[in-house]
């Protein structure tokens, strides 16, 4: 077997068998699932009956909303401004405003409220509205089919339909998602949009995850190198393999551990959420999540593509989140995550390996860690600006410069990034990590056999130019 593969295998197995890995693997999804589940659950707790006004300009949904033990619906027939003042005056919980659609079918609505609206209400509204719209569409389709089957039925010619039953395709086409935008009315009756954009959250989450992974697994590489150095086994190993093989074996092995952990998290989180939903379907039905999570009835991307993520707001709704996540280009996102995780990790992992090789114990790493981690920390600091202005020059440069690009680019991607920028960033990152690995290899080779010496930056510079 190839020696580098042997090293990768050992590094991988020795880490995934560790207790800390197993604990992290279990705790991570529990925390993430809790992030999904707890808000949904909490929303169920309040028990007073809330008054919800409805102003329906389309007339499609008159009497479709049914009163429950939690909500009382009251229809208004006036203009939006007076509806708002009625709602405020009567201390209502929310006002649902369904404007006349530009196109034929209503697909969006606004919710005005004084406080943040709970996801249960939004889930219910969404549910009722989409069902109604779907019914209407289905009716229209059936009419079309009838016309097709009996050409004499109506003189209107239609050559788009095919098939003589309501086909799956039609069912797919009529599937409707409703955009709900919440707007909070301030104390003085002013409107302020309560943005918690999903793309923001998804981007931030991905960026922070990359930051976290780079730190976590980069420092694992460093600790591994120090361990080998301190236990002196390194001399035995480098008499069998080249130091570069040992270093790369370790870096790749740890990267695989990171990917394994990531995939396990994704799978386990989905599993936990699904189990929870199955166990308590009623809690989630209103939030329309069972449907979303069940792959069998999942809305195909094509049906969703008309919804732009920028318009989908109020992220505390699981259904909305997933909808929005789906609306973001999934393929690009996953590909970019894996690419930027690996690229960023290789870049920093190589630097961490070099640091590990240069010192005798972990306490000595401080002086070298500082400058290396500053770009990472800077990226997290800058993240806030990027989210507020994903197209601005700060966002652009930080997502191009390789030391910060893995984090900042991940934050930007959900907002949509031109492909040439993405490509430029990836190419630069690749070049940089190759360079970093080469440099680290040089430092590593000299450092691992050097003991009892306080190494300075100048010294490290010299090591770069030592001959084999």
């Amino acid at each position: 077997m190839n020696k580098t593969l042997l090293i990768i295998k050992r590094e991988y197995l020795s880490r995934v068998q560790k207790k800390s890995f197993i604990v992290m693997t279990i705790l991570g999804p529990l925390l993430m699932a809790a992030l999904f589940i707890v808000p949904v659950y909490l929303a169920q707790l309040s028990d007073e009956v809330k008054k919800v006004f409805i102003l329906d300009e389309t007339g499609w949904f008159i009497n479709k909303f049914e009163n429950s033990e939690r909500f009382n619906f009251e229809y208004l027939y006036t203009d939006p401004e007076s509806a708002k003042s009625i709602m405020t005056a009567q201390n209502g919980y929310a006002l649902l405003y369904i404007p006349k659609p530009d196109v034929s079918v209503p697909s969006s609505a606004l919710i005005f409220s004084q406080k943040q609206v709970g996801i249960d209400l939004k889930g219910y509204i969404r549910n009722v509205m989409s069902k109604e719209v779907e019914n209407q569409k289905l009716g229209a389709e059936i009419m079309k089919e009838i016309k097709k089957a009996n050409p004499g039925f109506d003189e209107t010619d239609d050559d788009t339909g095919a098939g003589n039953v309501v086909s799956e395709e039609i069912l797919k086409n009529i599937k409707t998602s409703i955009k709900l935008t919440s707007i909070k009315i301030g104390d003085e009756g002013k409107e302020e949009k309560s943005y918690t954009e999903v793309s923001m959250m998804v981007g931030m989450f991905a960026g922070i995850l990359i930051y976290f992974f780079i730190f976590l697994f980069g420092s694992q590489v460093m600790r591994g190198v120090i361990e080998e150095k301190v236990s002196r086994i390194v001399e035995v190993i480098v008499s069998s393999v080249k130091p570069f093989q040992l270093m790369m074996g370790k870096i790749v092995g740890v990267a695989l551990v990171g990917l394994t952990q990531f995939l396990l998290w994704v799978v386990l989180t989905l599993a936990i959420v699904t189990v929870f939903q199955t166990a308590m379907p009623d809690k989630f039905k209103k939030a329309e999540t069972v449907e979303k999570f069940n792959p069998g009835t999942r809305i195909p991307a094509s049906a969703d593509s008309e919804i732009s993520y920028e318009e989908v707001e109020e992220s505390d709704n699981l259904g909305t989140i997933i909808e929005a996540v789906e609306s973001i280009n999934y393929g690009t996102m996953i590909f970019a995550f894996i690419f930027f995780f690996l690229g960023g990790y290789l870049l920093y992992g190589a630097m961490f390996a070099a640091i590990g090789a240069a010192v005798d114990n972990e306490t000595d790493t401080q002086q070298f860690m500082m400058p290396v981690t500053i770009p990472l920390i800077l990226a997290i600091v800058v993240a806030q600006f990027v989210i507020n202005n994903p197209e601005g020059p700060v966002s652009f440069w930080f997502s191009i410069i390789p030391l910060t690009s893995p984090i900042i680019m991940m934050i930007r991607i959900p907002f949509g990034v031109p492909y040439w920028e993405l490509a430029l960033s990836m190419v630069l990152l690749t070049i940089t990590f190759i360079f970093a690995v080469w440099m680290a290899g040089k430092i590593y080779r000299t450092g691992i056999l050097m003991y009892g010496k306080k190494v300075s930056w100048k010294e490290l510079g010299k090591w770069l130019f030592y001959k084999g």
Binding site: S14, E227, R232, E235, V236, I237, S239, S240, L449
Partner: protein, 311 residues
Amino acid sequence: MSYFSVRNITKRYSGHTALTNVSIDVPKQSIFGLLGPNGAGKTSLIRIINQITGPDEGEVFFDSEKLAPHHVDRIGYLPEERGLYKKMKVGEQALYLAQLKGVNKADAMKRLKYWFEKFEIQAWWNKKVEELSKGMQQKVQFIVTVIHEPSLLIFDEPFSGFDPINVNLLKDEILALRDKGATIIFSTHNMASVEELCDDIALINKSHKILEGSVKEIKKQYKTNTYSLDFDGYSGAAEALLPVGFELLDEQSDDDLRQAIVRIPEKATQNELLQAFMPHVNIHAFKEIIPTMNEIFIRKVNEASKPFLNL
């Protein structure tokens, strides 16, 4: 014909020169002692042999080929600073290190079983290294050094950390390895074991080789024609009995028994000394004082560090 040779090696580090134009020749199937005080350059030389570092000048030949990366699988190296993964299980680790030396898994298992039985450590196969005593770890380290049946073995202070019983066990193993055909380079400060095991030596001091040759030859070369004579039954000065030209270097007495250390002049024989003493004393012992490797080592190193005394 030398199995392994180093030709005019020079190795410089930024601050100093570790090896200056050093050449050694290690005959096949012999034990070669690589001696020298701390910091002389032994470790640098060993690392060059192991291809951990490369020389700045000079060449290394292994079995009449120029030393190349593929040779690492035929070299076994036991470094002075022992090291194993502390958290890894003994058997797993031995298997890993054997595979890194290019032994396939099945062979490695077979050979490990043999060695673990021989050293009576089978019960430790599934223990973590950190649970083992130091001596036991040393045994494991020795096993992983020889597991790939290398034709060239490099032992750096192999006996440190062993009790006398295990030192003997190890010595026997090293000799057995040589008899089976291995060539061994042996670096140590323990001169008694050098005399016991080594066929040839090289002495390195301050990056220069200052002495080399077979142990027998070197010892012969450093003989000083000095003898010790134990006797009693005589109360006068021993010096009075000496023939002309003989020199009394030292005299000691323990109760009645006295010992004289005498240097015999060139051309004279030890018999003349005996003849001079015999009429007057009871002789208990008489023997030539042969310098130990230890003395030769100290003498050569001191000479090298104070060259002006040598004039």
